[in-house]
Symmetry: C2
Subunit: 473 residues, 2 copies
């Protein structure tokens, strides 16, 4: 039976699709309002725009069937992993069918010798890492959430390990993709490198479901390091902390993680986790390698930190002591929210050349102070990427406007410093306006041309990434 509210955004399309999908997938297709709402954006302040239907395929072939069915009816198709993106990627602004990939859950192969695995798109990074642990392997990309690997590839995710291990761009070797016409493409390969034709894998990584649906991935793995050491070190100023980061990277110290918490964030963490860290900018670092190598890295890092006025480097190798040292970083998001209960943060994600990092962070902090906004900062500073979280009472329109204006200045400032709107969250809906500031023509035209070439009917996650100059919907 068809729920009454399915066809709010009604056209002939969804009705035809619902009937066809129900005949084929039975109760694996639903128009239930709660489930639909869960499949629109639910995590950030971007408004929820639910799809008309949600379907739960269990194989690549089923995804292909769904795409063919939607295409025949002219209905949009929105892939869904875990719904943990911030930028409205899973919203359905034109209605359509949310293709929930969470049942594509198989780890199809682990090639130990090649440090590779093949997974279905719905496997999450923590599920993968749990299954790899006994083999001494791990997959290093760690956005905060336990996201699906398909979603992580689609949004070009990264996280705290990127300074050493790269982003999803660097760790996907091959893919199975369902194209807009419902055909199943296998792109990339298992060789460690290739110069064979256009790099279709890198084209799909970060395409946010707008060029096809990723259903299977071949990923690069890494051996669990023989030794891991974590450390924290307080600095007199943000600039001193940033200069320490720059020197560490310039000297080629292969640091695995290097995260900045500004003093506002440290204060939040002290309150939230009952810590007594000095309320100064803090670097949280991690070193991976052989015992000798890690010892060498720690010694060299401590020397650099000392030169820039860093306090004592506290470090640990035992897992529990490492976790204790990194507790501030791990709880940063909830601690930040706790600074002003009842507010919501506006997620931001700029990334600048590392030489501009200190200047950009300092200017942003000054702007926050001037604007009367509490905005703690956490940064993947090895990459020049930082998240500033202005805490805004979403019920107060003036405050919302003030917060939005602050974010607008933040993004434009980062672009003026030679940076990018988004280091790792993606464009989705909310950053589309900034993509048009970041790139001049004809770069945006190139993106539109690629989009039209691979999705001529604009049915694959429409309304994301790039505005098509002549809307086809």
């Amino acid at each position: 039976m068809m729920p009454a509210d399915v066809f709010q955004a009604s056209t002939r399309g969804p009705a035809a699709v619902f009937a066809a999908l129900q005949a084929r997938f039975g109760d694996r297709v639903t128009g239930n309002a709660t489930i639909r709402e869960q499949h629109g954006n639910a995590l950030s302040e971007v408004p929820n725009q639910p799809p008309d239907l949600v379907v739960f395929p269990e194989s690549t072939e089923e995804v292909a069937e769904i795409v063919r069915c939607c295409r025949a009816a002219g209905v949009p198709i929105i892939p869904f992993g875990t719904g943990t993106s911030f930028e409205g990627h899973v919203n359905a602004p034109f209605g359509g069918v949310s293709v929930d990939l969470s049942r594509l859950k198989s780890i199809l192969a682990v090639h130990d010798v090649d440090l590779q695995c093949v997974v279905e798109a719905g496997v999450t990074r923590e599920e993968l890492n749990r299954s790899l642990r006994d083999r001494g392997l791990f997959f290093p990309i760690d956005p905060g959430a336990d996201a699906s690997l398909g979603g992580m590839a689609a949004t070009r995710a990264s996280g705290t390990n990127a300074v050493r291990y790269g982003t999803m761009k660097d760790n996907v070797l091959a893919m199975t993709v369902v194209l807009a016409d419902g055909r199943i493409a296998r792109i990339g390969g298992r060789a460690g490198k290739s110069a064979a034709g256009y790099d279709l894998v890198r084209l799909m990584v970060g395409s946010e479901g707008t060029l096809g649906i990723i259903t299977e991935l071949t990923l690069r793995l890494h051996g669990l390091p023989e030794q891991v050491a974590a450390g924290i070190c307080a600095f007199p100023t943000v600039k001193a902390a940033c200069d320490t980061v720059i020197s560490t990277i310039q000297l080629g110290i292969p640091i695995a993680r290097i995260e900045l918490l500004d003093e506002v964030q440290v204060r939040a963490c002290n309150a939230y986790s009952a810590l007594d860290l000095p309320e100064q900018p803090l670097l949280c670092v991690e070193f991976h390698g052989s015992p000798v190598g890690v010892g060498d890295q720690i010694e060299r890092f401590a020397e650099i930190a000392g030169e820039y006025g860093g306090g004592e480097l506290q470090w640990a190798v035992e897992p529990e002591r490492r976790s204790a040292l990194w507790r501030a970083r791990h709880n940063a998001y909830w601690a930040a929210r706790g600074l002003r209960p009842g507010t919501k943060g506006i997620s931001t994600d700029v990334c600048v050349p590392i030489s501009q990092l200190a200047a950009c962070v300092v200017a942003t902090k000054e702007d926050a102070a001037r604007s009367g906004i509490i905005a703690p900062i956490v940064g993947h500073v090895g990459d020049g990427n930082f998240h500033c979280l202005p805490l805004i009472d979403q019920g107060d329109p003036a405050e919302v406007a003030n917060g939005r204006a602050f974010v607008d200045r933040l993004v434009r400032r980062a672009l003026a410093f030679g940076g990018t709107t988004t280091g790792e969250h993606g464009i989705g809906q909310s950053n589309m306006k900034y993509l048009e500031v970041e790139f001049e023509e004809p770069a945006l035209d190139m993106m539109r041309a690629v989009k039209r070439a691979l999705d001529p009917d604009n049915l694959m996650n429409p309304g994301k990434i790039v505005r098509l100059s002549a809307p086809m919907l």
Copy 2:
């Protein structure tokens, strides 16, 4: 004055273009037969197909003017760097204008702190590295030839350092590209990472001039390592050498170079360079890092090599002693040619998952023995990439046919092992038939769709990478 032989492949197009370009560029455009021949393939056994004209622009804007002029006349445009590709990339199978970028020679900026530089496409890697040396920086990608950086990006080049530093895919941050319609696009950016829209930079890297002409690049640099140590070690079998490589990588030893020479190649090097290396498979390795780190790497590598029956690890840190140790590797190509004077090698470039490397190399050596072909092997084995160079008397049709059949089996064997046709040389003309074996539809259709989207008239280096199902010329 127009040379008589300009219009061999005559259409109205080239005549109109010649007049227009000569009016604009004077003696920087030529139809001289010798220069034209130098701008067709001249390095490998792929037949020379010269362009109708050669033009020497001196800026991105001039390249754009040339493209607009050619487009108006419907004449193909073939970018030319140093002409050092093996696969016919610079040939003009449909005639057209060779755009020689060698005068785009400026190093526009070096951002020391960011470990980045901005160069024009005609700068070669050795020119760049000479200019960087005093700053303590280097650009690590090293195909054998002193190729132009634009050409290296266009062919997704790599070389011996890729196991540590990646390929051109990993080391280009941004680009200026002249598109098929003559517009100038700036793509990518200077941030260390970005999730802002489609990865146009990675789409252009490896596109071989078929989607546009790269005129400017922002590259990732690296600090010169504090210490460099080189080493060589002989092994009883190819398998033992490959197993050593696998263990080295699995243990996460950050080796900078790890090259295999098979015993045929070692014999060639002994003869060519008057060395007395044991005529066994040889690994040439290089370690980069701090003195402590390099010492640790050497110790750990020596232990692994010992476990697989490797002979004594000879190693050195002083530049001259390092060069002496690596002399065999440096002279490998000419030494190989010296094994059978008067012959030419057919260049090959397969790359397989590292677990399949020993099996693939051994099967290839057995095939060579069965086929009566001398085919020394040099491999970037850390990536699973190896070059087998069958030495063929190009004047003997039966021998040529035997050599071609051997290469055909080699590529198909690598593909059967899960590998790729080309790890670093590219598709060009000679590997087009193998691209169609390596990928199934609709992957090739995706490539065609991208090509048509960005070059609807098929004027950008036509006849390379992918066969368009309906030829547009």
